[in-house]
């Protein structure tokens, strides 16, 4: 065997497929990856420090910017944490609206993530455009509901900012009706594609034990065959009322993660159907009336103490930790960002595969640098 010199390639920070400003120091032997070191922090925006300076209400706006593909779920998690600390009751109707928004957000994220993944694989945009067309429809719903397409700033402590009007309910129902058609097209376009199978099967395998050891979450760990989903493991909000399945993969490769995401979109659709059906019977208002005033002004003070809450973001387990000393902003504020934790397993996933596989594996983890660097 000929001994060849190892070459170190910097993929990033300026590279088309690192999903933001992110650098991968890859040591390659020919085209085979020997070692891979992710370097991040280029997008650091002092998120946690800002959360300690700003009031609780103001902090909601920056949680949108953590993982800017699913701002609704980020807000959901943050509001839940504050509510837990301040023991604020959330009315049933508000919970339903939150769940609907969260699940829409999950579909949005997965559609875009699969599109980006295919783009990384070199599929020249068709799937991306299909995914984005769907994403556009959901963002339109978000715009009607909350007033902004990406940075929704919709949830408040004790509920949501504005109610769902019958028009909006109709708009969401319309979207849900068209959704199966989209996902069938999406699937037909790539599910059985020979080249996609060749590129993704047995690539980036993360065995069960390793996945658990790295404490990766979300579609990555479910692709590895562990049915771990916060919505089931520790049902928050009203997720215990819905029937849905948790898809798991069998091998833990890139293709499994893709299948899990596809199936999760269908399951989200299923949850949305149930939620839309039950919404009219839900009691209460869209926001806890006692906190309605507090939700408009910045003066909310939380009792001293600490709280940790986690939600199932499309990327994995998103946790918020808040320590309060009784003031109107957090004393300590920390986030468990799923993208960051999932990224730690990248070296083990990539070793032994080729340079071309790095971007595919990275795409299959589905990171958003806003969340990794915070």
């Amino acid at each position: 065997m000929l001994k060849t010199e190892e070459l170190q390639i910097n993929i990033g920070p300026q590279h088309p497929s690192t999903h933001g400003v992110f650098r991968l120091m890859a040591t390659v032997d020919g085209e085979t990856v020997v070692h891979l070191e992710p370097v991040f922090g280029y997008l650091h925006r002092n998120h946690e420090q800002l959360g300690e300076i700003w009031t609780y209400l103001q902090t909601i706006t920056i949680t949108d910017r953590l993982d800017y593909f699913n701002s609704m779920i980020n807000e959901h998690g943050y509001c839940m944490t504050v509510e837990k600390l301040a023991s604020i009751e959330v009315p049933e109707r508000a919970e339903y609206i939150r769940v609907i928004m969260s699940e829409l957000s999950r579909i949005l994220n997965h559609a875009a993530a699969i599109g980006f993944w295919l783009q990384d694989m070199g599929s020249w945009g068709t799937t991306l455009m299909f995914g984005f067309r769907q994403r556009e429809m959901i963002m339109d719903i978000f715009e009607s509901v909350g007033g902004s397409r990406m940075m929704c700033n919709y949830m408040r402590f004790g509920g949501v900012a504005r109610d769902l009007t019958p028009n909006l309910v109709e708009q969401i129902n319309l979207f849900l009706e068209g959704f199966p058609q989209f996902i069938d097209d999406f699937e037909r376009l790539m599910m059985e594609n020979e080249i996609l199978l060749a590129r993704s099967r047995n690539v980036g395998v993360l065995p069960k034990e390793l996945a658990a050891a790295y404490s990766v979450t979300g579609p990555v760990i479910r692709g590895s065959g562990i049915p771990y989903d916060i919505r089931r493991a520790e049902p928050y909000s009203i997720y215990d009322r819905f029937a849905f399945d948790i898809p798991v993969g069998s091998v833990g490769d890139v293709y499994d993660r893709f299948l899990v995401r596809m199936e999760e979109m269908r399951q989200s659709h299923r949850i949305l159907r149930q939620a839309m059906e039950q919404l009219p019977q839900a009691s209460g208002s869209y926001i806890n009336q006692a906190y309605k005033a507090a939700s408009k002004q910045q003066g909310l003070r939380l009792p001293a103490g600490e709280a940790y809450c986690r939600v199932e973001s499309p990327k994995g387990e998103l946790g918020y930790y808040i320590v309060s000393n009784g003031g109107n902003s957090a004393y300590r504020y920390g986030i468990r960002a799923p993208s960051l934790i999932n990224l730690t397993a990248l070296n083990d996933m990539c070793r032994g595969y080729t340079v071309a596989d790095i971007v595919v594996i990275l795409g299959s983890i589905d990171i958003v640098m806003g969340e990794v660097d915070r």
Binding site: M121, M129, L189, I195, I246, V248, V355, A356
Partner: protein, 404 residues
């Protein structure tokens, strides 16, 4: 052409030189124009496939978009990286473009034939192989790791895919009995305008077409074989460090290669400029150019269509595909071509009395027998090779929804 100039100049050598220059200029101008049209077709077609519009601002339907972009790229500053090998960096686009344009010398535009040399097919293959050198030069001289990887990939890919490409052409050359491109096209000419006389409508020609087309996609660095450029992996491959005019030249060469591939495919397999009415004296020439362009652009559209659907192959899968799938098929095809020739041309006295033995001597019966035999061989070979190459299922992949 020469006669016309001789009439003007009255001097033989000057007339020859001028006629060559005229033809060269015509080819270059037509090539650039076609390249602009190709980029427009590509972006517009991809746009509509992806449910969007594509370029639609400059001119009617965005037709002048390529011109706007040409002006933009040409007026950009020309940058050579500090540590790059200046001369090689400069020469690489030249080499690539030159080799690409040279291939156009023997490609007939319908009835308009620039040069008819008796080894035309070989010439095309040989000349377009030179552009591999240019890719390696570009990759090496850029002093960039991405460019180097792209260049290496380009060379590996081009060399591997040249073999099935040439071997698939060998069967056609055997069928025709000549290496001249004009002869190849003439062979598909049918006095009644019957398109069934095209090579693609014989079992041998069909398999040859499939192999040639796939190998050519790889030669032209088209998706799914665009590994040397591989945007998502290698930024822009060997073109990473090129900008401005040099990039424009590389880009032009790339699209000219693609057009050359389409043109050769149209000529060799789809009858070139042949079509109803293409043998009428003057109108026929125009018609034949039209048929030729229609066929070539149609083939290019197929390229765009494929690009809209498939992801890129990994470099090792790409090699496997060339050596394990295309090469055996091309070899089998040569075998069945020889059978085809033997059955059709040889009778009982040469020891190939198959048609006579079946009790139906006569050319139609011979063709029928040849058809059946080669079709069976080729189809069986295709499915056998495809079966052997199929990704062996290591595990059953099922995203099984489980209720926990």
């Amino acid at each position: 052409m020469r006669a016309m100039w001789e009439f003007f100049f009255g001097v033989g050598w000057l007339a020859t030189l001028t006629s060559y220059l005229t033809i060269t200029t015509a080819i270059l101008v037509a090539g650039s124009l076609v390249m602009m049209l190709l980029t427009w077709i590509e972006r517009r077609g991809l746009g509509y496939m992806q449910d969007r519009k594509g370029p639609n601002r400059v001119g009617p339907f965005g037709l002048f978009q390529p011109i706007a972009e040409a002006i933009k790229t040409i007026t950009k500053e020309d940058i050579t990286p500090t540590d790059a090998d200046r001369w090689v960096h400069f020469l690489a686009p030249v080499v690539i473009l030159a080799s690409t344009v040279a291939a156009f010398a023997v490609i007939p535009w319908g009835n308009l034939i620039p040069v008819d040399i008796n080894v035309g097919v070989l010439y095309i293959v040989a000349v377009s192989a030179v552009h591999t050198v240019g890719i390696l030069m570009a990759g090496w001289a850029s002093n960039n790791k991405f460019a180097l990887l792209g260049g290496m990939r380009g060379v590996a890919q081009a060399i591997s895919y040249e073999i099935p490409q040439v071997l698939s052409l060998v069967s056609i050359v055997m069928l025709v009995g000549s290496m001249s491109v004009v002869d190849v096209i003439q062979n598909q000419m049918d006095p009644y305008g019957n398109i069934l006389s095209w090579h693609i409508f014989t079992p041998v020609g069909l398999l040859s077409f499939i192999v040639f087309w796939i190998a050519s996609l790889a030669e032209g660095e088209r998706p799914p074989f665009d590994n040397p450029e591989a945007e998502s992996e290698l930024v822009a491959g060997y073109m990473t460090e090129y900008g401005g005019m040099k990039f424009a030249v590389l880009f032009l060469a790339n699209y000219l290669t693609n057009f050359a591939i389409c043109a050769v495919t149209a000529g060799v397999f789809l009858g070139g400029g042949n079509g109803p009415g293409s043998d009428i004296p003057i109108l026929g020439t125009l018609l034949s150019v039209f048929y030729f362009l229609a066929k070539s652009l149609g083939l290019f559209f197929v390229m765009v269509w494929i690009r809209g659907v498939v992801p890129r192959l990994r470099i090792d899968e790409l090699m496997h595909f060339a050596w394990k799938f295309l090469l055996p098929l091309a070899l089998v095809n040569i075998f069945s071509t020889s059978l085809w020739i033997a059955i059709i041309r040889w009778g009982a006295e040469q020891g190939m009395g198959i048609a006579e033995a079946l009790g139906a001597p006569g050319s139609i019966a011979r063709i029928a027998v040849a058809w059946v035999v080669t079709a069976i061989i080729n189809v069986v070979a295709f499915f056998l090779v495809a079966r052997l190459n199929a990704t062996r299922g290591v595990t059953t992949y099922q995203a099984t929804p489980t209720a926990v």
